[in-house]
């Protein structure tokens, strides 16, 4: 992509995360290879792709949950092999995992509070204000603040997981399949909120199987297929690319 084109899409916003030639292996099996990826401040980037393409593996590697090879530059700092989940959290990277990983026997409020744990330990005492902001985004959570997280519905769980991540005031928010197992109306609501997050300046990396919804909110998209990025481009371009549909329904080899 030319520098001019680059500027036209991203403006002069700083790069939050840049990944070059990333590879991840499980034992002898390489699950991801040659991944290049870039996210700017205030931008929503989506990685779409069929089941089993390696999307969750990508997020786990970025978050430091899995060892990876290649260059990762986060907030201008090259990440060495000693990077840990804890240090990344400290520097504003958060992941809303596919399984949500809520604290089921705790109230909604306590779940949110723990989202701010690292900031609290770092001396910040603004968690109550942040919680009010989260409640503004997710009024449903305020209604349920006393309820145990384990008793929430699927959509509410996803909202709580996102709200908990926002409590950390992240610079990069990574969402793993926020639409997973949710009904269409709720998916619409979740994606509306994701689109609004752009205003807060947070960079969002959205990993989705639900390609249409993801491409609708995202600025830029990558298609991940069998561990490699097969197509990339501005969302609008991808949305009309017939190869995207093929990669999903496996029609490529037959027609």
């Amino acid at each position: 992509m030319s520098a001019l084109h680059e500027h036209a899409i991203h403006g002069d916003r700083p790069v939050v995360l840049e990944v070059r030639d990333l590879a991840v292996s499980y034992g002898k099996v390489e699950a991801l290879h040659g991944i290049d990826l870039r996210i700017h401040r205030g931008e929503i980037v989506t990685v779409i792709g069929p089941n089993g393409a390696g999307k969750t593996t990508l997020l786990s590697a970025l978050m430091g949950l899995l060892p990876a090879r290649g260059d990762i530059v986060y907030l201008g700092e090259p990440q060495g092999p000693e990077r840990s989940v804890e240090s990344l959290v400290r520097h504003g990277m958060t992941l809303v995992p596919e399984k949500r990983e809520l604290f089921g026997e705790m109230s909604v409020e306590d779940n949110l509070l723990l989202g701010a744990f690292d900031r609290y330990r770092g001396g910040h005492r603004d968690h109550l204000e942040t919680m009010d902001q989260v409640f503004e985004i997710f009024p449903r959570l305020q209604e349920r603040r006393e309820q145990l997280a384990g008793t929430l519905s699927g959509g509410e769980r996803q909202m709580l997981a996102m709200g908990r991540a926002l409590m950390a005031k992240p610079r990069l928010l990574m969402l793993d399949e926020p639409s997973l197992g949710l009904a269409p109306l709720i998916i619409r609501e979740i994606f509306r909120i994701v689109a609004e997050l752009r205003k807060t300046g947070v960079a969002v990396l959205l990993v989705e199987q639900n390609a249409r919804a993801a491409l609708q909110v995202a600025d830029y998209g990558y298609v991940l297929e069998t561990g490699e990025i097969s197509i990339e481009g501005p969302s609008a371009t991808l949305a009309s690319d017939p190869r995207v549909i093929e990669s999903y329904l496996g029609l490529g080899g037959r027609h």
């Binding site: 997973l180 269409p184 199987q209 639900n210 390609a211 549909i245 999903y248 496996g250």
Partner: protein
Amino acid sequence: MTRNRILLAVLLAALALGPLVLAEFHITLLNYIGLYAMVALGLVLLTGVGGLTSFGQAAFVGLGAYASAYLTTAHGASPWLGLLAGLALTAAVALLLGAITLRMGGHYLPLGTIAWGISLYFLFGNVEFLGGHTGISGIPALTLFGQELKSGRDFYYLIWFVLLVLVLATRNLLDSREGRAIRALKGGALMAEAMGVNTPRSKIVAFTVAALYACLSGWLYAHLQRFVNPTPFSLNMGIEYLFMAVVGGVAHVWGALLGAGIITVLKQWLQDWLPGLFGQSGNFEMIVFGLLMIFILHRAREGLWPLLLRLFPGSVAHRPPPAAAEPLPRRTLPPAGTPLLEVREASKRFGGLLANDRMNLTVKAGEILALIGPNGAGKSTMFNGISGVDPVTSGSVSFLGERVETLPAREIARRGMSRTFQHVRLLPAMSVLENVAIGAHLRGARNFVHAALHSERGEEARLLHEAAGQLVRCDLAEHLYDPAGSLPLGKQRIVEIARALAADPCLLLLDEPAAGLRYLEKQALADLLRRLRDEGMGILLVEHDMDFVMGLADRVVVMEFGKKLAEGLPDEIQRNPLVLEAYLGGVE
């Protein structure tokens, strides 16, 4: 002769000639090593192989010792009667403790055995007819072939004979159908259940056998010492037995011997040396043992035996495939078109989430039904509900006309349903052949006594022949003796299919069998599945590779949000707008 046989011959010769040259002190030491090694051997079976553990083995040693001591001194009974009584008592206690604790998480058994070890120690010390803390003396010597075994030197050969027999029996047991079931307990219980193994029973077998080994050691000890008191049967000694097994190599039968030798000699030496160093007396060797254990579990969790083996690298001999044997009897498959599986209104609830919502599906003999849908649609949950691994909350599952939704997985397997897992569940250190043989578990019947005596070799040969045959059929003939974990993930999935086929099922459940396969391998797999279908087997398949599914399946069921979204022929499904929406997302 292989390396192992040479080492064994050297060991046997050294043991046989030992008493001719060794001093009394060394004979005594060797006797103790032999007695301790018997107990540690039981722990190898229980802990290293079965993934369970006990700190109460010393108490079982005590049962064996006290049973014979009491019967021979108070009632003038024969020591052999004492042995039988001790074994019976031990088996009863082990079965009781096992039945109570083994149903729960793995850590309840060790906790139960700690409590039991302490209780029994205090009981020995406080019961009057067992002599209280002073114990029982005047225990008669053993008489063997008219010869009274009065000295340690007399006893030496008996102890080592018994130990070597136990080692042999343990090795035999592990190398058998029952042994594979025990080896599957550590990290593979769920898989084993789905293959028809009664895992609670296997756990109890391992625990009881370990207890009986300890009891035998105790009986020998009582008649060697001719005197018993509670001290050698305390919890501390129980802990030491476990240390022996772990130090030596808890997953290796010879590790028990090595560990017993090291700990016994080290203890002897430390007890001479440490009190002098610290200027006071006490069990200071336990400090060293404790630190040694922590170090070993941090740095060499497999113990010292594998390290020792590395010093004597042997050549890996090329092994021929198992010899041909009479084929196992096969199930008669129902005629094509017969409904095999009928799922009606099946739902599965996890807390507030409905993972399966009134699902219906039917699989007939001689057809391939594909179950597809986006991530999180509930496909694997449906599989677990059908196979009994995680039963449905409501609704019915009928297999061959019989309701099975409340049966445990092993009972469903027995009726002719076999499955693979989405996350491969093989025992990585076990050979591919043996992994597949676990699939044929229900096609054998001989129990662990036959296994220990190796009197079930005929049946075993037929099982292995069957397993090898399935591997040949799945194109894995060159990997028979490779550790399953060394294969690439795609091939491991095929091993899972071979294992499921070894059960001789009429319905096969495959969870993402093509994931990780290359193009040609996928084609080979598709050919195999077509052949199985043509033979009359029913196949239910979850798969993400649409190319693979659409070219293979006779019918397709699409799931979304736990419900059935569509059902039909592959071509219909590919043109169905609802399905397209589900896959690409339907938000405007």
